[in-house]
Symmetry: C2
């Protein structure tokens, strides 16, 4: 469906009725305080909403003091936003009524749609049709609603909000899990943090995480957007939102379920959406400039660490502690992630020495006997002011429990602001943490969340700038592919596409008869050419290391006969004769238009080990050669061809060119490649290039149809 609006005016036009409606219809309103549905109206009263509230109830003329109407189309207009709480069977009628009444957006709390399986999905599809025909945008169904805290507009029946008075602030939350809204809200709230927009997206039948984030990113009060994600349903607008956030100096941070197979299954059974590989998610986040955290507390504590920051220049952390063991807890964990711990500089040590403090060049600055207050603040000020690190970790020990004032003395007396400062307090020390909260300094309760948040910040990069594709070349490739139409190309056709992209094949020959075989020096491989037969090796349709014209002829004749017998319905385009290839190592080079995150390019190690021991590097496509080099560096196995121990070097430059070339399939015009794979791609010695020995291209269809 069309959720790809890319127009700031459209964003504003929807944002207003969604988050700042001048009038709200509560469809399913009731005065029965025991019912959940009554809460929507109570919450609007509680926050002092100043717009018009119109209860809709089939049997009442008044609900909690306000005039009620049987149907939304009976109420006086205009109505900006409807909040729908009626049973699932009545939702479509309610939405039709909204259309008739000119309601711009409806938030559907009611459950009983796609999350229930096939029947529910059918009901949801009808709902979407009715909404689209009537020009009503939908949030939900099966969502907890939203809360514009800045303007005091709750559109929800969330019980948590009855007891809780949320503080306005600069965090906005978009969550695919309704049940996690309360957990996130309360955990932020207890850290003294406030909110601007909170949205539970439910089934995302229309408005999804991406478009909602696009709207929220334009909200002035919002400075950090927190995403709780189970699956991607609209990665294109989400990518756009993340890039816009970067432009505006705002940060987007994500927690995503599905790190394990169990988690993926749970995420799916919970939402009825597609499976998603976790590496693809990480790739998407990194390439779009979104920080990803691994722990729930990390998600809660990261916003304060990165408020107002932009991606760091490096990933170097400096650390000061008065208590070695506790600092080691954070740094040990961080040591298995990306960032590097850097010790003090020579100048810093010299300057500190003039104050009487001699510190070693050890990476962790561990003050002897905990140090004095002045020593601690002198070092901390040096680290915060220095260019040699990108973030600072300060650790406080047991004394902070007894004397929370140590937070003021050791931390808050130092001029902050130069770079992110993470403070870990080793003992249970709520009073000290509250002082940090009050001062807006990121204080951490666990070494794990501290390491997680530092890692998220220190590995944060700006959204990757995609290379500009060579238009003429893409035109040629598009034309070639368009001529084939939808479906799988055979090996020769696929090889021709790769060759057009500049990735050479083995110089093979197609023959339909043994008599056509040309001259080959050395051994050849012979295999049947058919787009309809997969796993040709398993079917006995491949012979390797065939030597001499006669043996080759026999192999061609045999294999063609065998294929025709075994696969009578397959299209058989002949036999392929190709010189056997040797090189230093084999890789698998792949491209895929992923249904969740869009086009990606993948590099993996070839051979049977690839299946047994997962080793893969992934980027959103397209990539330039520099990014391709980064992918090569991701795979430890490829160090054997990149200058390891005097082993012969492979043509890594040619491999990088090949990766970049195949990634251009993301930029075709009029044709969507669903997937492409070269397996194996043989890497020869330096200067001798790479060879695509076998490969496959599958055309998914016409480009216009590929919206997620």
């Amino acid at each position: 469906m069309d959720n790809l609006f890319n127009d700031p005016a459209a964003v504003r036009a929807l944002s207003q009725p969604l988050f700042q409606p001048r009038s709200i219809a509560l469809i399913g309103a009731t005065a029965d305080q025991a019912k959940n549905n009554s809460r929507a109206q109570r919450l609007l009263q509680k926050t002092g909403y100043t717009g018009r509230v119109v209860p809709i109830n089939p049997t009442r003329t008044e609900v909690m003091g306000l005039p009620a109407y049987p149907r939304v189309q009976d109420a006086p207009g205009p109505i900006d936003h409807a909040f729908i709480m009626v049973p699932a069977a009545s939702v479509i009628d309610a939405v039709a009524g909204c259309a008739q009444a000119g309601v711009k957006v409806a938030t559907i709390f009611t459950a009983g749609f796609a999350e229930l399986g096939r029947d529910g999905l059918a009901l949801q599809q009808r709902l979407v049709e009715v909404a689209r025909e009537g020009g009503v945008r939908i949030l939900g169904p099966n969502c907890l609603g939203l809360f514009n805290v800045t303007d005091g507009v709750p559109l929800t029946v969330n019980a948590a909000l009855e007891a809780e008075t949320l503080r306005p602030g600069w965090i906005s939350v978009v969550s695919q899990s309704g049940s996690m809204m309360g957990a996130l809200m309360t955990r932020f709230q207890d850290r003294g943090l406030g909110f601007s927009r909170l949205v539970s997206v439910g089934n995302e039948c229309d408005l999804g995480v991406g478009e909602l984030t696009e709207m929220i990113v334009e909200d002035e009060k919002t400075r950090v957007i927190v995403l709780f994600i189970e699956t991607f349903r609209d990665s294109i607008p989400l990518a756009r939102a993340a890039r816009r956030a970067h432009e505006l100096g705002k940060a987007v941070i994500a927690f995503k379920l599905g790190r394990s197979e169990t988690g993926r299954i749970l995420a799916v059974s919970h939402t009825g959406a597609m499976l998603g590989g976790d590496e693809l998610a990480s790739t998407f986040f990194r390439d779009q400039g979104i920080m990803r955290v691994d722990t729930l507390e990390g998600l809660v504590e990261l916003p304060r660490l990165i408020l107002g920051r932009t991606p760091p220049r490096g990933s170097r952390v400096a650390a000061i502690t008065g208590t070695g063991g506790a600092a080691a807890l954070v740094l040990d964990r961080l040591g298995n992630m990306g960032p590097t711990l850097v010790g003090p500089t020579e100048e810093m040590r010299a300057r500190l020495a003039t104050t009487g403090l001699e510190i070693s060049d050890a990476p962790l600055i561990d003050l002897p006997m905990g140090g004095t207050r002045k020593q601690y603040t002198d070092v901390l000020a040096e680290l915060l002011a220095s260019d040699h690190c990108d973030a600072v970790l300060a650790v406080l020990g047991s004394t902070t429990r007894l004397r929370p004032g140590q937070v003021d003395e050791n931390i808050l007396s130092v001029p902050l602001g130069a770079k992110p400062l993470a403070v870990f307090i080793a003992p249970a020390a709520e009073a000290g943490l509250t002082k940090l909260d009050d001062a807006g300094v990121a204080g951490f309760r666990t070494p794990e969340s501290c390491a997680d948040a530092l890692n998220a910040y220190l590995t944060w990069v700006a959204p990757r700038v995609f290379p500009t594709p060579p238009a003429a070349l893409l035109r040629q490739v598009s034309d070639t592919l368009a001529a084939h139409g939808k479906g799988a190309l055979d090996e020769v056709q696929s090889g021709a596409v790769f060759a057009q992209l500049g990735i050479e094949g083995p110089g093979s020959q197609v023959v339909t008869d043994a008599a056509e075989i040309g001259d080959f020096n050395g051994p050849v491989a012979v295999k049947v050419l058919s787009p309809d037969i997969l796993h040709k090796t398993d079917a006995g349709l491949v012979r390797l290391n065939v030597i001499g014209r006669e043996a080759t002829a026999t192999a061609v004749t045999d294999l063609l006969a065998r294929a025709r017998t075994a696969f009578p319905n397959a299209r058989i385009h002949g036999a392929l004769v190709a010189p056997m290839q040797r090189g230093l190592i084999e890789v698998i080079l792949g491209y895929r238009h992923d249904r969740e995150v869009g086009p990606v390019v993948m590099l993996g190690i070839g051979g049977v080990m690839a299946e047994l021991k997962h080793s893969l590097s992934v980027r959103l496509a397209p990539v330039d050669e520099a990014t391709a080099r980064g992918m090569i560096a991701d795979l430890p196995e490829l160090r054997v061809i990149d200058g390891f121990r005097n082993l012969p070097r492979g043509d890594v430059a040619a491999l990088a060119r090949a990766i970049s070339a195949i990634s251009l399939l993301a930029c075709l015009d009029g044709v969507e490649v669903q997937e492409a794979e070269i397996n194996p791609l043989i890497i020869r010695a330096e200067g001798q290039g790479v060879v695509a020995v076998d490969g496959l291209v599958v055309i998914g269809g016409i480009k216009e149809g590929d919206a997620v």
Copy 2:
């Protein structure tokens, strides 16, 4: 040094003066309240210690109301325990005085020893000599002391204890990090947990974590022992303590620094001890029946989960939630660890159906709309009573923040005790957590610590029973090795040892002259035989695939000449001629007497990839064949020879025998093998055995000298 006492009477004999002294000398006592040292006496007064306290101060006859003496040997005896706080330069005199006064054990708070580097280490060694000569056992130096909470005996100047009144209880803590004592104490304390023994071990110049744990495990009040470890200094008594804990139905849980290289360096610079590989630590913990946690909160929250438990039969967890997203947070993380999530059984579903609750067979029991109280407790009771799982996870949602009573209704009303129950509360909900604390139920604040603790319990196994080694065989091997004396054996000598253990070599021949070459079918490898030349391939002293008698003779002559020229001082025992070996895959099989954890056997993948992509399985040695099979299963790469995709099977049984055989080096009599390695060990097809192509044995010395 002799810290290997293995005698229950000796344990008791030391335990009494250490933890329950009838009289205590405070060496360095002062009445100056501003000084740290005054605190030791104040804390003894605060806890109402009923024994005799003797302040030692060179210039006072009275300190805080008690008669003081200039030296401990001047005070009236007997004195069980001395707490030493004087400057480092005076510590040795103080210990000598203790010896003279018949003091049984001294705890040294003073820092300035091994942790400072070489000079400090020398001072510490002198200290140890004086103590040993005088028969005084030492805790520390550089330690925070100890606290027997059960009997109210603090021997420490820990500032935290002045404000904190610790509750007596069943947790004991032994920590190598003094600075973490306060963090652990306060975090347990705030969970409502109490203590029996708390010990900060400092530099462990005499009493170490192992012996202290041996004493603590015999303490009646102690039921769970928590270890905070930076490095292993006495793994033998620690292993003994862990096994004794298992006998007594007590649990030992460990947090160890050093998961990352950074952490290992920090642990080392902090304590002056040896580097230790993290896998070795995990191996040690698992094989000795110690649970290991990965997070600090996991360490704090695990004791309640496992109190009174023994290792589980399986590693299956069942889960119930009223809020899917929050449960998925725990289970997603757990899904990347060892345990398995199991759904409800058929019988369970049938029984629940009779109460009107229909649940699916999905692995996570996610009650529709959160479920009613009765539904929740019905399911929870079923899970807790059922044999199909080994632990239960119950998740509570946002409501628990508003209504902590939900904890009583949904959790505490169910009969507990059948198996461990972990409760994760999704929102910030201190009141609910306190209810769980009060009821003795394990409540978790973060999904990460919940998964960590569940994983630690569910992967807990009883201490591994080591196989009984075949005495006659070991006698033979010991004799062979003893005949060589200390140092490296050459390849032929090493091969003979492996052959004695039943691991066959390639059938090679040693020649000192080309004329001696025997008859070989097929290609051979020729290499120089010398225990003094490492890296023979790099030195050009190996030729592979030599075919025919003449070429072999030339190779032998060439290589011997080249070796004599290049290494004039090396012992050259001739040239080795061996048939080239082929097999399905190569592995590295190693044995090592590790300085930290003792004898271990290691299995890794061979070839250059081994260095680039770490893949290794380790166990404490010796291992039987079943354990060896487990090691083979640890390496995903070995699935290619164990029934993967119709690939030819390798002789996995022979590999298991070889692993078990080399591990017997741990059981030799009178000889200590420092390390042994077969690289490569070639695995042939099923039924055709394995071949040790090359190998090395290094004899470390006479067994009597191997104490850590």
